[in-house]
Symmetry: C2
Subunit: 185 residues, 2 copies
């Protein structure tokens, strides 16, 4: 039987409609456990995930998001920011793989979330400087790469009409031949 895609890679998606139900602590820890195991250059693990689930801390994180993201992310029970360390922990030299490696760790969270029956939505639309302040992370040392919202998938009816129409599931992808190319000569 030919090898085929393990289904969850295609089943995972990035919803905007979330249920407000809080995530159990064991689920939250499991997400970051998955991130922790990602590979990285020199095993430097240049990622840090700062998150909030309630109270003023959560409200401050929400405020760092672009307004267009706040509209839907406000319902998600977990909000966070992923930071990439600009230099290697061991040597202090610039780490040109820091963002790439942090993306790998974020992907582990996205996949582990799906496998726990929840979903994640990573966002580029947020205020980098405000995020660093809200998370007490030194912006000279860390790049705020992405914000994220995680929770159970909710009812699209909770979204404003324009977003509801977009809540159709998986986005299309470029053809395989466009993203993977074998050198044959």
């Amino acid at each position: 039987m030919p090898a085929t895609l393990t289904p969850f890679f295609a089943a995972r998606w990035s919803p905007r409609a979330f249920r407000e139900d809080p995530l159990p602590l064991d689920q939250i820890n499991t997400l970051f456990e998955a991130a922790r195991r990602a590979p990285s250059c020199f095993n430097d693990q240049p990622w840090r995930f700062v998150y909030a689930t309630r109270g003023p801390a959560r409200a401050r994180l929400l405020q760092t998001l672009a307004e267009a993201n706040q509209i839907w992310a406000q319902r998600a029970p977990l909000l966070g920011i992923v930071f990439a360390r600009k230099t290697f922990d061991a040597t202090g030299k610039p780490n040109r793989w820091s963002e790439f490696d942090s993306g790998a760790a974020a992907m582990a969270i996205a996949l582990q979330a799906h496998l726990l029956g929840i979903e994640s939505h990573f966002m580029g639309g947020f205020d980098e400087s405000a995020a660093a302040t809200a998370c007490a992370m030194d912006p000279k040392a860390w790049t705020a790469m992405a914000a994220f919202a995680i929770g159970k998938v909710g009812d699209p009816a909770t979204l404003p009409e324009k977003l509801r129409e977009r809540e159709t599931g998986r986005s299309p992808r470029k053809p395989l031949a466009e993203v993977a190319h074998e050198l044959t000569d």
Copy 2:
């Protein structure tokens, strides 16, 4: 029952000892299918994977690796380079999430490889400029992020002694509390 880590996140690793057996085409395509489904900012899919499995093309890719990597990677049946597009496809504007998103796509490959019974090893040690030339990718438009070797795990006895000693499996990880931090106030 509390949520626990889906085992393959911790079982995946980055070997240096590979078997030389060629990978079937369906396995290779499945790896890149997994990468294709990764999330990205504006769904831009800013990654490209260029690879070779044999002949002069494979030899040229091998030559772009740092010598310390060539020693072991020479046995892996698939060698490649992952590139991150510097600008958004849709707008031509700089894409600050390109490397992060490409890391997510690379992680999908690493996990899908493990789930197919093979493993991957991503490397920072390679010549960026030589890789762009070998892959016919414009270095003004694309950043060569990482090289990779993929194949079945081999016998550590095929490695030089120093590498053999390091071929002990999973590298240690920082404690969870160091990489994930909840804001509670």
